[in-house]
Symmetry: C3
Subunit: 343 residues, 3 copies
C-alpha cells in the first residue's frame, strides 16, 4: 500500500473500544499478519490458531478480542474489539476509499449516451463509456472507463463495472454487482446446426440475468441464452477467465474459480464450489452443495453434496486412492511378471 493511515482515523472507527499500551504513532503504513508485521504495521488476531504468534509479534498496533489478557510491549498499542475481523474489515474499507476513491458523480465529458437512456444522477459514468438506447443505470453505480452498456440493459443500484466491461443488449444486472475489467456479458451462444453447406448459426435471442451481490472476475465471458436467459444466482462469485455458456443456470452463493468452463444449458444449484480449470459438458445438473476439484472434467450430472475429482470424475477419496495406486503400477506390473515366470 502506498498510503499512510492516521492512528486517529483508526481509533475514531471504534470510539468505545478499550486500548492498552502507550504507543501513539501518527501513522500506520501497512497491515500484515502477527508473524510478519513490523513496527509501523497494524495486525490483528482474528483466529485463535494464530494466538501463538502474539507474544513475539512486532506489530505496532494490534486488534485483539475483548478479554485477551496479554500486555503490550513497549512501542505497541492493543485495541480490544468484540470482533477483530470485523474491525479489520472496517479499516480496510477506509483504506479502500483512500486508495481507490470513487470518481465524482455524473457523465464524463468524453462519454456518450443514446436517447432514452436513464442514468441516475448519483452514478458515475467514466471516460469513453457508451450507454445505449433505453438503458437504465441505478443509484450509486460506478461505471469504469471504456464500458459498453447496451440497448435495453438494466444495471441496478450500487453496481461497480471496472474498465472495459461490455454488457450487451437486453441483459439485466441486479444490485451491488461487481464486474471486473474486460468482462463480456451477453455474447452470442455457441450453437450451430450442420447442413450440406456447413455449420449454420442458431440465432441467440435471449439475455443474461445477473442477480444481486454477484461478483465476476476479469475477462470472464457469459453468453446469452438461445431464447430465454442465462442466469447467475444471488451472491455467486466467479473468478477470472471463466466461460459460462448459453442458457447456463448458476444458483446462489456458488464459488467458481478461475478458468472454469461451463458448457451450454448446464444447471448448477446453490452453494456449489468449482475449482480452477474444471470443465462441464453440456446439459447436465450439479446438485446443491457439490464440490468439484480443480481441473476435473464433469460429463454426467452430479448428486447434491458430492465431492468429485478427475476426468472422468470420481468421488474425491476414490480418485485420491487411485492416484496412489497408479504410482504403484510399475511395481505391480513387475511383480505380476515375476509371479508368472514362476509358473
Amino acid at each position: 500500500m502506498s498510503l499512510k493511515l492516521k492512528l486517529k482515523e483508526i481509533l475514531d472507527l471504534f470510539p468505545e473500544a478499550q486500548t492498552s499500551g502507550d504507543y501513539q504513532p501518527e501513522f500506520i503504513s501497512g497491515i500484515s499478519s502477527l508473524e510478519q508485521a513490523e513496527s509501523h504495521d497494524l495486525s490483528f488476531l482474528g483466529n485463535p490458531k494464530y494466538r501463538k504468534f502474539l507474544d513475539d509479534s512486532n506489530a505496532g498496533v494490534i486488534l485483539l478480542p475483548e478479554g485477551e489478557s496479554t500486555s503490550p510491549k513497549d512501542g505497541q498499542l492493543f485495541i480490544f474489539l468484540d470482533s477483530p475481523s470485523t474491525g479489520l474489515a472496517s479499516i480496510c474499507r477506509l483504506l479502500e476509499d483512500k486508495l481507490f476513491p470513487a470518481p465524482k458523480p455524473g457523465l464524463h465529458p468524453t462519454s456518450f449516451k443514446e436517447e432514452g437512456a436513464q442514468i441516475d444522477p448519483s452514478s458515475v459514468i467514466g471516460a469513453f463509456c457508451y450507454v445505449g438506447e433505453n438503458a437504465i443505470i441505478g443509484e450509486n453505480a460506478i461505471i469504469g472507463t471504456h464500458c459498453h452498456v447496451g440497448r435495453n440493459v438494466i444495471i441496478g443500484k450500487g453496481c461497480r463495472l471496472h474498465p472495459g466491461v461490455k454488457i450487451l443488449s437486453n441483459c439485466i444486472i441486479g444490485n451491488d454487482v461487481v464486474i471486473n475489467a474486460g468482462v463480456i456479458v451477453g455474447s452470442e451462444g455457441y450453437g450451430f446446426e450442420q447442413d450440406n453447406s456447413g455449420h449454420q448459426k442458431i440465432p441467440h435471442l435471449g439475455k443474461v440475468i445477473i442477480e444481486d451481490n454477484v461478483e465476476i472476475g476479469a475477462n470472464t465471458c457469459i453468453d446469452r441464452a438461445r431464447f430465454d436467459e442465462t442466469r447467475i444466482g444471488k451472491g455467486t462469485k466467479i473468478d477470472n477467465l471463466v466461460q459460462v455458456g448459453h442458457n447456463v443456470q448458476i444458483g446462489k452463493n456458488c464459488l467458481i474459480v478461475a478458468q472454469v468452463g461451463i458448457s451450454g444449458s448446464v444447471v448448477i444449484e446453490d452453494d456449489v464450489i468449482v475449482g480452477g480449470q474444471a470443465g462441464f459438458a453440456g446439459h447436465l445438473r450439479v446438485g446443491k452443495g457439490a464440490k468439484i476439484a480443480g481441473q476435473s472434467g464433469i460429463t454426467k450430472s452430479v448428486e447434491p453434496g458430492a465431492f468429485l475429482k478427475g476426468n472422468p470424475a470420481l468421488p474425491f477419496q476414490l480418485a485420491q486412492r487411485i492416484s496412489v495406486l497408479q504410482r504403484k503400477l510399475p511395481d505391480l506390473f513387475n511383480r505380476f511378471a515375476q509371479e508368472n515366470s514362476k509358473d
Copy 2:
C-alpha cells in the same frame, strides 16, 4: 425474450402454408420446446424423436411438417411447413432484427478514422472506434463500439465485430465473419530465443487471415505469424476464450469449443471438432475430420478421422475402457495381494 411478435408477422413469412385450428392470438411472446411451451409460446416439431411430446404440448402455435395428421386442441394453431426447422430459423431472424437492431450506417461522431482509411458508406462504425491508416471496411459491415481496426487491415462484406474487438495491423478478415466482443486478432506470437542475458524476443512480422463465414467467440486470442500468416479456414466456428498461437493453420468447417489452446505452428485440417479445454503442443498436424474430446492433451500428430481422448490422448474407446479399469485398480491390488499371500 422481452418482445412480442405478432401472429400476423409470422403468418406473413409463410404465405402458402396451410394451417389448422382456430386459435388467433394477437401476439406470440416466446419460443420453446414442445414439452415446455406454454399457451403464449410458439413451438415446433423439427426432429421426429420429439413427436411423442406433440399430443400433450401446451404451445399456442406449433410449426409442423406437412403430412402430420394430428389435430390441434382448442386454443392451438398448427402451421404446416415443408421444413419446420427452416421456418423457425426465419422467425428467429425476424426476432433478431427486432431484439438486436442494426445501428444506422455511417461513422459514429465519437469514432476516429485515420487518413486513407476506406469505409464503405453502407457500413456502421460504432462509438469510440478507431480505424487505422489504409484500413478497408467493406459493404454492410457492422463494427461495434470501442473496436480497433489497425493499419492496413481489410474487413470484408457483411462482417460483424462486436464491442471491444481489436484487429491489429495488417490482418485480413473475409466476408460475413462474426467476431464476438473482446477478441484480439493479430497479437504478437509467443516466441523467444534464450541467450546469456535472458529470453530474447523473436519479432513477429506476419499477419492473421480469417476466411469467409468464420465465427469467433468472446475474448479469444489469435496471434499473428512470425513471417507469413496464421489462418482460420472458411466456415470454422471458434468459441470463447480460445488461444490460437502464431502460424497456426486451421482448415475449413472446424468446430473449436471454448478454452481450447492451440500452440504455435499446429496444422488442423478441415472438419475437425475439438472439445472444450483441449490443448495441442506445437508443430503437430491434426488430420481431416478428427475429433478430440474435451480436456485432451494432444502431443503428437493425429490421423484423419481419429477420435482421441485424454492426456496422453488415446483412441476414445480405449480411453473409456482404461477409465473403467482404473476404477477397479483398488480391487485388483487387493486381489493380487491375496493371491500372493496364498503362496
Copy 3:
C-alpha cells in the same frame, strides 16, 4: 509480409560482411527457411542441423556463417556473417519498423488525461486512452488505443501497451515491458470469507508490480494483492489468457505458456518453465528452474529443478512410464483373470 525490403537496405546493415554470388535483386519479398524459401526470399543458416538443406535451397539471398565454403548457385547471393541469427534479428527489426511503424509522439486528440498525470513528451498516447490522476508515463512509451492507465500508475521507459490494455490504480510497470492487447493488470483478487449471509468480499488494497523486460500475452489477467503486491520478475515472459492470482510472486526469466492458471499467493522462483493450461493450487512454492508440463495440476510445492507432469503431478519420467502401463491395463486385467481361473 506485405512489404518489400530493398537488398541495399539489407546490405547496409552489414557494411563489413563478405558476399558471394552475383544475384542482385532489387527487393526481397519474404523470409523463410532454407527448405521452403523461394527465389525472392531471404533465408539463413542459424543452426548447423539445417546445413543439409543448404545445397538444395532456392532462397535468393542466404545469410551464412563465416567460413562456410559452399558456392552460391546462379541467381543466389550469400552474405557471410559472424552470427547469421543475430543478422536475421537485425533485418527483422528493420522490417518491424516498416510493418508496424510507431505513431508520432504526443497525445492523440481523442485521448483524455486527468490533472497531475505526467506524460513524457517522447511517448505516444493513442486514440481514446484514459490517463488517470498522478499517473506517470516514461520516455518513449507507446500506449495503444483504448488503454486505461489508472490513478497513480507508473509506466517506465520504452514500454509498449497494445490496444485495450487496462492498468488499474496504483500498479507499477518497469522499463521495456510489452503488454499485449486486452490485458488486465490490477483486477481485484478473488478472496471471500463466508459468514451467515454468504460470501463476504475481502478488500484488495495492494497493487501489481511488473519488472523490466517482462512481456505479457493478450487477454491475460493479473490480480492485485490483498495488502502488498503481486509481482512479475524481470525478463519473465507470459503468454495469452493466463491467470495470475492475488499476491503471486513470479521470479525472473520464467516462461509461462498460454492459459496457465496460478492461484493466489503462489511463489514461482527464477527460470521456471510452465507448459500451457497447467494449474497451480494456492500458497505453494515452485523452486528455481523447475519445469512443469502442459495441463499439469500442481497441488504441492515443487523442488528446484524438478520436471513434473500430470494431475496429481509426478516426475516426468515416472508419469511417462505410468502412461505406458495404463495402456496395458486391459491386458493386465485379462491375464490376471486367466491366472485366477487356473487356480
